[in-house]
């Protein structure tokens, strides 16, 4: 004989609007073995939790059923509630009457009837629930941060500050990310380098951060607390343990590659550091641009190097690193605007995209910070075109969030550096951050011309002799309702921020889900924005969605704290509801190995049976359901328990 308590949650009106909650509680009270049933507005709140705990004591309950939201939401909450009242936490059953009931019908009768059936099933199952004991695993106290932009740098520094060892993995030959390309940052117009480069240096100097540039994640094994990450160190053809960063090699190099850092606006050497403040300061050789690699002779860099650091025979190497948690901060790509032929990028030399303009402003950029165009002229009039690819169903449906603000920054810098006329062609000005609206106001006062309308076309064809030699931007000036043609020297496109082109590959490596655009998915948009469905792997910055620097830094800090909650522990409690194989019945077919999404079943070739790695098992039951020999059962979801629940359901 069990003593079961049933607690029905209204969830405000989320459940109570469709399910007749008091009728449901009354019904539950009539079921065999149910000694108490109650309903309450918010069962997860303090009074709700106290109600359950008081009833456990008052009625001496040995099983608890909570009819509320999805167990994904609050199973852990209610497990703690009953554990604190002295019950084993696994003597709880959650009945989902919100997502799977109240939210899928408008009919009160249907919803209430289904809720009754679900509760009846839960009562049947609850009678058979067994107390389970949690197990513990040791936790590796190191953390890996993937991506060395401002987000990853922030996360790494914060973690190192707590005394933890951090591996910072960056695919480029320097850290810094997009922020290192900027000259100024909005809305304060802080010098980007002045606030970023000290942090880059702090990473380099911090003994607890192991900086791994020119590296990529190759393979990820393991689980929360015990990840095993294989890293590919790409061949630099320069032995950094010997290199003293004198850069004599780069002076002698005759090879020419395209400067990624300057967005292709200029050439760089084949042996190079991307920019003078790069971290580390040691060069790499671009194989595709190197005369020796292309033609078999040259080796001028080798002759110039006093340290014998040039190593043409270097190959990629691999390294296994064990960490307890991982932060993915891999950033974004700027949308390629060439396919939007109407804007003429790639066709008219006077058309630039946002990152190119950032480089023109930058004193370390290709023009030394002067705004001069590809033809050497200083533009006297500039149009900045918002929402290029953003908020557009044909490209990226979302708002890229930062473009309005950086377009304002561009307008300010263009005014300052060229004294030209600057037009902003916008759909809606979005300036919701701290100090952002004020920045917008400032730019209005700086006499930037705001035109409400999305640019339709950029052309150099015009009948108007006054427009000769100009680019003409065509737009519906929606506030006057008139078609406008605006002659300018320079057009700046503010394109959408997109997921990295290889984001899918990164998602596969870390078992992350992606949203419909390809950005990494957070576990919960409000309550777990940095967590993912893979325990121990966190995301931060623009890899989760478009973000500006303040938000990215905040997320980097937050992700560091999240990672710390894992690696600060010596041991981690494992879910006890895991699968177990009865080796006597196992036929060795390996169905379980194939169906498991977590890689938990491992086939033991010596014994010819499958075994479950309980640290990886999430207790989903796929293996048990697919086992033809019924050799696997899942604790907390045993065959008996599931069959009993079905029987209870079928009574209705």
């Amino acid at each position: 004989m069990s003593r079961i308590g049933v607690f029905v949650c209204h969830c405000g009106l989320n459940i109570a609007k469709t399910v007749r909650v008091s009728e449901l509680a009354e019904f539950a009270g009539t079921l065999p073995d149910v000694v108490v049933a109650a309903d309450y507005k918010f069962m997860c709140s303090t009074p709700g939790q106290e109600l359950i705990q008081n009833d456990i004591k008052k009625y001496n309950l040995d099983r608890v059923i909570v009819a509320a939201c999805s167990p994904l939401m609050h199973e852990k909450t209610f497990r703690k509630v009953i554990a604190n009242a002295g019950l084993n936490q696994y003597l709880l059953s959650i009945v989902n009457v919100r997502e799977q009931d109240a939210w899928v019908t408008d009919s009160e009768d249907e919803a209430t009837a289904k809720a009754k059936a679900l509760i009846n099933g839960a009562v049947y199952r609850a009678r058979l629930l067994q107390p389970l004991t949690a197990r513990f695993i040791d936790v590796n106290s190191d953390v890996m941060v993937v991506g060395g932009g401002i987000t990853g740098i922030q996360a790494a520094l914060e973690l190192a500050e707590t005394g933890k060892k951090v591996y910072l993995v960056e695919r480029n030959s320097t850290i810094g990310g997009h922020m290192a390309q900027f000259d100024k940052t909005f809305p304060t117009l802080d010098c980007s380098a002045c606030i970023l480069t000290p942090k880059m240096d702090a990473v380099l100097q911090n003994p607890r951060i192991e900086l791994m540039t020119y590296c990529e994640v190759e393979e990820v094994k393991g689980f929360v607390g015990n990840f095993d990450v294989k890293i590919r160190q790409k061949a630099r053809y320069v032995d950094h343990s010997k290199c003293n960063a004198c850069l004599a090699c780069t002076e002698k190099c005759p090879g020419r590659g395209t400067s990624e850092w300057d967005e292709g606006l200029v050439k760089r050497k084949a042996i190079y550091i991307p920019f003078p403040q790069a971290v580390p300061q040691k060069p790499v050789i671009d194989r595709n641009a190197c005369t020796y690699f292309k033609k078999g002779k040259c080796r001028l860099c080798e002759k110039a190097c006093g340290q014998s650091a040039i190593a043409f025979d270097q190959e990629d190497t691999f390294r296994e690193i064990k960490v307890g948690a991982v932060i993915v901060a891999t950033g974004y790509d700027l949308m390629d605007t060439k396919p939007l032929v109407q804007y003429g990028y790639g066709k008219y030399p006077g058309v630039y995209h946002a990152l190119e303009i950032e480089r023109l402003f930058n004193s370390a950029g290709p023009t030394g910070g002067k705004v001069v165009m590809r033809d050497g002229r200083e533009p006297q009039s500039i149009a900045i075109l918002h929402c290029i690819g953003s908020r557009d169903k044909n490209h990226c449906e979302y708002c890229s969030r930062v473009c309005c603000m950086y377009s304002l920054k561009f307008a300010h810098l263009l005014k300052e550096k060229t004294h030209g006329d600057v037009y902003q062609l916008y759909i809606d000005m979005r300036a919701p951050g701290k100090g952002y609206e004020e920045f917008y106001n400032r730019l209005v006062e700086e006499d930037v011309k705001f035109i409400r309308g999305k640019a339709a076309r950029v052309t150099d064809k015009t009948d108007n002799p006054d427009f000769a030699g100009k680019l003409v931007v065509e737009v519906d000036d929606t506030l006057t309702g008139r078609f406008a043609t605006i002659p300018v020297d320079m057009v700046v496109l503010s394109p959408a921020m997109k997921p990295r082109t290889d984001a899918k590959e990164m998602a596969r490596l870390f078992n992350l889900s992606t949203d419909k655009y390809g950005f990494f998915m957070e576990k919960h948009p409000k309550l777990a924005p940095l967590s993912t469905m893979t325990e121990g792997v966190f995301i931060a910055g623009a890899c989760q969605g478009p973000k500006d620097i303040p938000d990215s830094v905040a997320q980097g800090t937050g992700a560091a704290a999240e990672a710390l909650t894992i690696v600060v522990k010596d041991r981690l409690e494992l879910e006890a509801a895991t699968a177990i194989v009865n080796p006597a019945s196992c036929c060795g077919c390996q169905s379980c190995v194939r169906v498991c999404p977590y890689g938990a079943p491992v086939f033991n070739r010596e014994k010819n049976v499958s075994e479950i790695n309980e640290a990886l098992c999430k207790g989903c039951g796929l293996c048990a359901a697919s086992c033809p020999a019924s050799a696997i059962f899942t604790r907390h979801f045993t065959n008996d328990q599931v069959m009993a629940e079905m029987e209870g359901l079928m009574e209705f």
Binding site: K454, D476, R482, T485
Partner: protein
């Protein structure tokens, strides 16, 4: 009297129910109007029409007849607003209330009484062929669906003849529809007379079925798009340019005559290009003609400029300076081409008209692709 606008949400609701509900998605960015071919020459604003529709505001009737349904705005709209559907449903609402402009009444009236928009005698539909070409019979490869315009419009009759002669040399078996064929109904649907469109469609679908047509060949891209997107029959529908491209590639017709460096530019009809996605076949045909040099205008393919003849525009009068076809002919002249080729009877009519009114007859000729190919055949 107050000059303030007042929302008339019943009107807005009625437009939505007539098929224009996509206006709800519009965020008034102006991409449509910035893209619209009218914008440089008239004050017609499709964005404003959408705005007025969202609230049922007064003034819809002043703007509703401007759109040529060229589809440029629809392709560019960042919100996926089906602007042509909105235009059709607004016109349907108002035309139902008797607000059809005078210039459109004769064309709609002719369609209703004779099944063609040109007030042509029903029994004279196939007179252009002088009995030289077969009628379609079951088992033939193609039902060659001649557009009303190539049957009745004297300029376009030349296109009908050239195309029929090409077919006769192709080795294919083909036939014309009987005189009971009617207009495809594309224009009448775009001016909002949905009932008449349904009647015409029923008639033509009946003909396809009774005749056992498996493949329908159209000379007009308007017939092509309508059969493919609105009729829903099971026959395969191909445009003449697609077939012509195949015939040349397979050597079934061999254009051999050297045109001696004839400069030709090609105008993409909206209904062949943006509505049907056919851009390459016409160009491949021109490139296959000996001694023909294809020179392109600035606005081509997906960005092609409209001739102004769609959406009922063919029957509406426009003041000089407000004719899209004039702008297009000027653009063609600027390329140095002496032939402006296209592949749509409406475009032919519009462009031909502009060449005459611009007194450019001695500098440029408007030709259908079929005419150019026919001229390149020997003998």
């Amino acid at each position: 009297m107050s000059t303030a606008l007042t929302p008339y949400l019943e009107m807005s609701q009625a437009i939505a129910e007539a098929g224009g509900e996509a206006f709800r998605k519009c965020y008034q960015c102006g991409t449509c109007t910035g893209t619209c071919p009218w914008s440089p020459v008239t004050e017609f604003s499709i964005r404003k029409l959408i705005r007025l529709s969202q609230f049922g505001y007064d003034g819809i009737e002043d703007l509703m007849w401007g759109c040529t349904t060229c589809k440029f705005c629809v392709d560019r709209c960042p919100r996926g607003v089906e602007i042509i559907d909105l235009v059709k449903s607004i016109r349907n609402m108002y035309a139902g209330g008797g607000l059809l402009p005078t210039s459109l009444r004769s064309f709609v009236g002719s369609l209703a009484s004779r099944g063609n928009p040109w007030s042509g005698d029903v029994e004279k539909r196939n007179d252009w062929g002088k009995g030289k070409y077969p009628l379609f019979a079951e088992g033939m490869d193609y039902l060659y669906w001649t557009c009303c315009t190539v049957c009745y419009d004297p300029r376009n009759v030349l296109v009908a003849k050239a195309s029929a002669e090409i077919l006769n040399r192709s080795g294919l078996s083909w036939g014309l529809p009987g005189t009971d064929a009617q207009c495809c109904g594309e224009s009448v649907k775009k001016v909002g007379d949905f009932d008449l469109f349904e009647r015409i469609k029923g008639n033509n679908l009946g003909l396809f079925k009774a005749g056992g047509a498996r493949k329908i060949l159209t000379i007009s891209p308007h017939c092509l798009a309508t059969f493919k997107q609105e009729y829903g029959g099971d026959a395969e529908v191909v445009h003449f340019s697609e077939l012509l491209d195949d015939l040349i590639r397979s050597g079934k017709i061999q254009p051999k005559k050297d045109r001696g460096g004839l400069k030709v530019t090609y105008h993409d009809p909206c209904y062949l290009g943006r509505h049907s996605g056919i851009y390459d076949a016409p160009r491949d045909i021109l490139k296959a003609l000996p001694g023909v040099e294809l020179v392109e205008m600035d606005r081509i393919r997906e960005q092609s400029m409209c001739c102004g003849g769609g959406g009922g525009g063919l029957w509406m009068e426009r003041a000089k300076g407000e004719r899209l076809s004039d702008l297009r002919v000027e653009e063609a002249l600027a390329t140095g081409a002496t032939v402006l080729a296209t592949s749509c009877p409406y475009c032919i009519a519009m462009l031909e008209d502009s060449v005459r009114t611009l007194n450019a007859d001695d500098r440029i000729q408007v030709k259908d692709l079929t005419e150019l190919v026919y001229e390149s055949l020997e003998g």
